[in-house]
């Protein structure tokens, strides 16, 4: 076999590269969910917490399309409760602390949704900005 040394070295480098994420993470602390400041005066979100944690982005996407494009502006949850489809008037009415709720997770997961480029977070109003 010609060049078997080169091929083997190449293979080893290749294997090291594609497994990099695995051994790089070895020994690193595992992911801890951040401490969130939850709304004080409500016990339960519009859907179960675990479901909201996984799916709030899908829900918000659907909310946006239903309200802007279909003109259906009321959401009836699985528990039968009706509420206005509005990030500002419904979600942020309970979650008044964007920094210690939304941002905590988003920063930790390194995702930056651009909702707040347009929608107005409660503290912006409080600051009279």
């Amino acid at each position: 076999m010609y060049d078997s040394g080169k091929i083997l070295t190449g293979l080893i480098i290749f294997l090291l590269l594609i497994t990099f994420p695995f051994w790089y993470n070895l020994g690193q602390a595992s992911y801890e969910p951040p401490d969130l400041v939850l709304p004080e005066d409500s016990q339960q979100c519009i859907e179960p917490t675990q479901w909201m944690r996984t799916n709030h982005m899908e829900l918000l996407n659907t909310w946006r399309d239903m309200s802007v494009r279909e003109g259906l502006t009321t959401f009836v949850s699985t528990s039968g409760e009706s509420m206005e489809i509005s990030l500002q008037k419904t979600c942020m009415d309970c979650h008044t602390d964007k920094v210690n709720f939304c941002d905590e997770c988003h920063n930790k997961a390194a995702v930056s949704p651009y909702c707040w480029d347009c929608h107005i977070a409660p503290e912006e109003v409080a600051n009279g900005q």
Binding site: E47, W51, T54, N55, E58, T62, R64, M66, V68, R69, E70, G71, L72, T73, T74, F75, V76, S77, T78, S82, E84, I85, S86, Q88, K89, Y114, D117, C118, H119, I120, P122, E124, V125, Q129
Partner: protein, 257 residues
């Protein structure tokens, strides 16, 4: 051999079926709970073809215009920017600009000096919708030409398509130019086009358009398809004109001059 193959297919089939029945409902569940519903809000004002009449006789003093423009711009967080980056949903201009094909050199003095209110005409045959590549601009069943600000990519085809200059482009972040942000309505970001939405969001909450409410009867909003509506009565009883009808866009904003 044959038998083996048959057994294999059977087992494969059974496990596929099991996989399907176990897998799909679970993954669907992960997206939408089965029994949520999206419905129109109670008390929503509905119509089949919205239109507006502007009674120009009722707009004589600068305050008459100012009141209406402020009502709209305050409600919708329209920024106050001077110069050529101006954003406007409802604004004023002179007769020759508003009705270029109807003006003549010996115009009555009243028209020559008076300003006229302008807004998106919510055309029945809207070129802005036809040219928008992302469907960010779209026509609803009730005739409202809506903007989905989420979807706009800022290509400005709609601005080139609209023969009425009804659209404005955000050259920079508009938020710092909004006095007293209204938290009930979003603002916009840089790179997005905006315009009057015939107050679709207010209609859905059972309210008339903000400009109509502030106009003291100078603006009449209603369903053009309903012969008994107030707007049809006003149109029957008054001579009205529309802007640039010769272009075939079929505008739904009428002017009593």
């Amino acid at each position: 051999m044959d038998n083996n193959r048959r057994t294999f297919l059977k087992i494969a089939g059974i496990s596929a079926a099991l996989g399907l029945s176990g897998g799909i409902p679970l993954s669907l569940q992960a997206y939408t709970p089965a029994d949520v519903e999206y419905v129109p809000t109670k008390g929503q004002i509905t119509g089949k073809r919205w239109g507006m009449v502007i009674d120009t006789r009722k707009f004589t003093k600068p305050e008459d215009f100012q009141r209406v423009i402020e009502a709209c711009h305050q409600t919708h967080n329209v920024p106050d920017i001077q110069g050529n980056e101006e954003i406007k949903w409802i604004w004023t201009d002179h007769f020759e600009q508003v009705f270029p094909s109807s003006s003549n050199p010996y115009l009555a003095e009243r028209y020559e000096q008076q300003d006229f209110l302008l807004l998106c005409n919510h055309c029945n045959n809207p070129p802005c919708v036809r040219v928008c590549p992302t469907k960010a601009t779209f026509q609803r069943a009730d005739g409202i030409i809506m903007m989905d600000f989420h979807r706009c990519i800022g290509c400005r085809y709609c601005m080139a398509g609209c023969p009425y200059g009804s659209r404005s482009f955000n050259f920079s972040d508009p938020k710092p130019y909004v006095q007293n942000l209204n938290p009930d309505f979003p603002a916009r970001m840089r790179g997005v086009v905006e315009k009057c939405t015939f107050c679709a969001a207010r209609l859905e909450q059972g309210q008339m358009p903000a400009c109509v409410e502030a106009s003291n009867g100078g603006l009449i909003f209603g369903d053009l398809s309903d012969p008994d509506s107030e707007i049809r009565k006003v149109l029957r009883e008054n001579f009205t004109v529309r802007r640039k009808v010769e272009l075939g866009t079929n505008p739904c904003v009428f002017y009593i001059v």
